[in-house]
């Protein structure tokens, strides 16, 4: 029997296998940031341990950092201490860090791929659940907790139980105005937030193969929202083209050796997945969430669902609670929902292609008078690239705010937060209660829907303009 892609990458990284124990897996790249690493470095100091492979480790500052006045010290003393702690730890343990103000600073999942450090067939971990993003390159990439961060720092390995595999086949062609964000929101609505639990997802099919790397990253990024620790896509010419020439891409003979290996990284024809799910891309339309978990989503042209429409008692209770929190009445057309803040950014949709797509919609138009739009590039490089293309002008002329790079309003650890009762259309990944600020209400959308919504002030698709 053949192997799935996930199984191949797994098997290539087993350092030690003993009956009755989890496999010990080698980690090719460890990304760290300020929030989930300080206690791990403390652990190393307490036990007199070193970072085993600083040359396979990279730190960025992203969760806490302000997106305004980045040349000044961070105003919040607690945030500042956390960022300073990361800087000190990196210096003490010899870890490369890209700090605020550095041209390579940005959200850790945007920085890794753009430096060419994310490559097919690697194992990549980070103390952040959206590490699944890197799976877009055919890497096995997943989020870990702080105890595991310490484990990887000390040993460059992790003991892990082998996950099951699930194929998600997306065949067909997306209609104009429909994006990879709509694909993943539709998948999560279909299998629920627990559906991928215990699995590595492999996204396959003609609709996936047709996507750019940026669009593939958006899909893999939200695997965790379906409960799966990792999601991946077989590398192909699109992947190789994206990597080629980036700072850490293999060179010369190494490039040829890498390509030879990367081309073997696909599920064998006779591989058997533990589960398969099918989705028809032809039938998809722009998707949006109405509730307080990412599985509570529907097509934008539908109405807020009634809790009674859910057969499952847990789902019905959750829907009732969500409608109260979101202050929505069943039966309301989604497109009638007024939006206070549009957030364009995050590790899900803060890449150059996302900004270009939104700018193309916004160009020459104005953000609605009662709506605020915040554009936060995923990295300093993305910001510079956008500025070189004049996208900053497009957003500023429309009345949107143009910010510096970071996680920003995706989770509101910095000052970029919703006020209680405020409602956002957000290109990020989580619509949990209070995620974007205490009492804030979040609708997850694609960059195209975000742009159209900013112009109309109500949830909209570009077709509504």
């Amino acid at each position: 029997m053949g192997k799935t892609l996930a199984e191949k990458v797994w098997e290539d990284h087993v350092v030690r296998r003993t009956a009755g124990e989890p496999d010990l897996l080698y980690i090719d790249l460890h990304l760290i940031h300020e929030v989930t690493s300080p206690q791990a470095f403390d652990g190393l100091r307490l036990t007199n341990r070193k970072v085993r492979r600083p040359d396979l480790t990279l730190a960025t500052e992203d969760h806490n950092v302000p997106t305004l006045d980045i040349d000044k010290p961070i105003a919040d003393p607690v945030s500042r201490l956390q960022v300073d702690t990361l800087r000190k730890n990196c210096q003490e343990f010899g870890v490369r860090i890209h700090s605020l103000g550095d041209v390579e600073q940005g959200i850790v999942h945007v920085v890794g791929p753009q430096l060419g450090l994310t490559q097919p067939g690697m194992t990549i971990v980070c103390g952040d659940s959206h590490t699944s993003t890197h799976g877009a390159f055919g890497a096995l990439a997943f989020g870990i907790g702080t105890s595991e961060v310490e484990h990887v720092l000390a040993t460059q390995t992790l003991p892990l139980a082998k996950p099951k595999t699930m194929a998600i086949n997306v065949e067909g062609t997306l209609k104009p105005g429909v994006t990879s964000k709509d694909i993943i929101l539709a998948i999560i609505a279909k299998i629920s937030t627990g559906g991928g639990q215990g699995y590595v997802l492999e996204y396959r099919g003609s609709a996936i193969r047709a996507l750019s790397m940026e669009a593939r990253m958006t899909i893999c990024n939200m695997s965790i929202e379906a409960g799966a620790r990792a999601g991946l896509i077989a590398p192909d010419a699109t992947t190789f083209e994206y990597i080629k020439g980036r700072p850490h891409a293999p060179q010369g003979a190494d490039w040829d050796a890498a390509i030879n290996y990367w081309q073997t990284l696909k599920s064998d024809d006779d591989a058997v997945f533990d589960k398969e799910i099918n989705l028809n891309a032809d039938e998809l339309s722009p998707f949006v969430t109405w509730g307080t978990n990412p599985g509570q989503g529907i097509p934008l042209n539908e109405v807020v669902p009634s809790p009674e429409s859910f057969q499952d008692i847990e789902e019905r209770t959750a829907a009732e609670r969500a409608l109260v929190y979101m202050d929505l009445a069943a039966g309301t057309p989604m497109k009638n929902i007024k939006i206070d803040t549009v957030f364009l950014g995050s590790c899900t949709n803060g890449r150059i292609e996302d900004l270009r797509a939104a700018a193309a919609i916004i160009k020459g138009k104005k953000v609605a008078s009662n709506t605020r739009m915040m554009v936060v590039p995923g990295s300093a490089r993305v910001r510079l690239q956008a500025e070189s293309e004049g996208l900053d002008k497009v957003f500023l002329d429309a009345g949107a705010e143009w910010r510096s790079a970071g996680c920003s309003m995706c989770l509101g650890m910095n000052p970029d937060q919703l006020k209680p009762g405020e409602r956002s259309a957000s290109t990020s990944n989580r619509n949990f209660e209070g995620r974007q600020g205490k009492g804030g209400r979040t609708h997850l959308v694609s960059p195209l829907v975000a742009a159209a919504t900013a112009i109309r002030g109500t949830l909209s698709s570009p077709a509504d303009l």
């Binding site: 396979l56 806490n64 607690v78 201490l81 956390q82 595991e148 484990h151 627990g194 965790i224 209660e433």
Partner: protein, 199 residues
């Protein structure tokens, strides 16, 4: 890590599904650089509601949290485990846990027990009828016992052994560093390194 063999305490019924880690501890509480002091952030938003179960006096000293399906979804923050432990919880029972949260809990010595949803419902009712009722969770026999009930749960032998011995994973891996070195010798040359910095 402290050894975990068994725990007896009172329970608290959290009748909610999909309790994500942003609810367990909101992001604004994650800025500390220590492992302690996170109890103030535990369920911070929900605790503003005086009727929320954690605010009800009969559950004040509970150490066993019994929650709805899909507990611990979302962010990988281990602070969620620390917040539960700092507050005083020793055991969380649910019919399904998110993978990362479950891994974090079992590494940190917070026992997460999976029981069928039907058993969760019975346990909720029993706790609500008698908040002072003792729930005994035993790792040796892998059982949860209360009143006349005794329910078995599953936990792989390796994790159970590690919890009962109070062993930390890093120490265990350190014993096998020779295997890691051997693996590194045959790693492909084309794999990227973060150092030296290339541009």
């Amino acid at each position: 890590m402290e050894k975990f063999t068994s725990h007896s305490g009172t329970g608290i019924p959290l009748r909610r599904s999909n309790v994500d880690t942003d609810q367990i501890i909101p992001a604004v509480y994650l800025k500390r650089v220590t492992r302690s002091g996170f109890e103030d952030g535990l369920f911070a938003a929900w605790r503003n509601d005086p009727d929320f179960v954690l605010n009800q006096p009969q559950y004040k000293s509970a150490t066993v949290l019994v929650a709805g399906v899909d507990f611990g979804t979302g962010s990988s923050r281990e602070h969620a485990v620390w917040a539960l432990q700092n507050y005083g919880f020793k055991v969380v029972i649910s019919s399904r846990f998110a993978d990362i949260f479950r891994g974090n809990s079992l590494k940190g010595g917070l026992l997460t027990v999976i029981l069928p949803q039907s058993e969760i419902e019975k346990l909720w009712v029993a706790i609500e009828n008698n908040p002072a009722m003792t729930i005994a969770v035993d790792l040796e026999s892998k059982t949860v016992a209360y009143e006349n009930e005794r329910i078995s749960f599953d936990l792989d032998d390796y994790t159970r052994w590690r919890l009962m011995e109070g062993l930390d994973d890093i120490g265990l891996t350190m014993r096998n560093l020779g295997d890691v070195e051997k693996f590194e010798e045959k790693r492909a040359n084309f794999k990227p390194k973060t150092l030296p910095v290339l541009s």
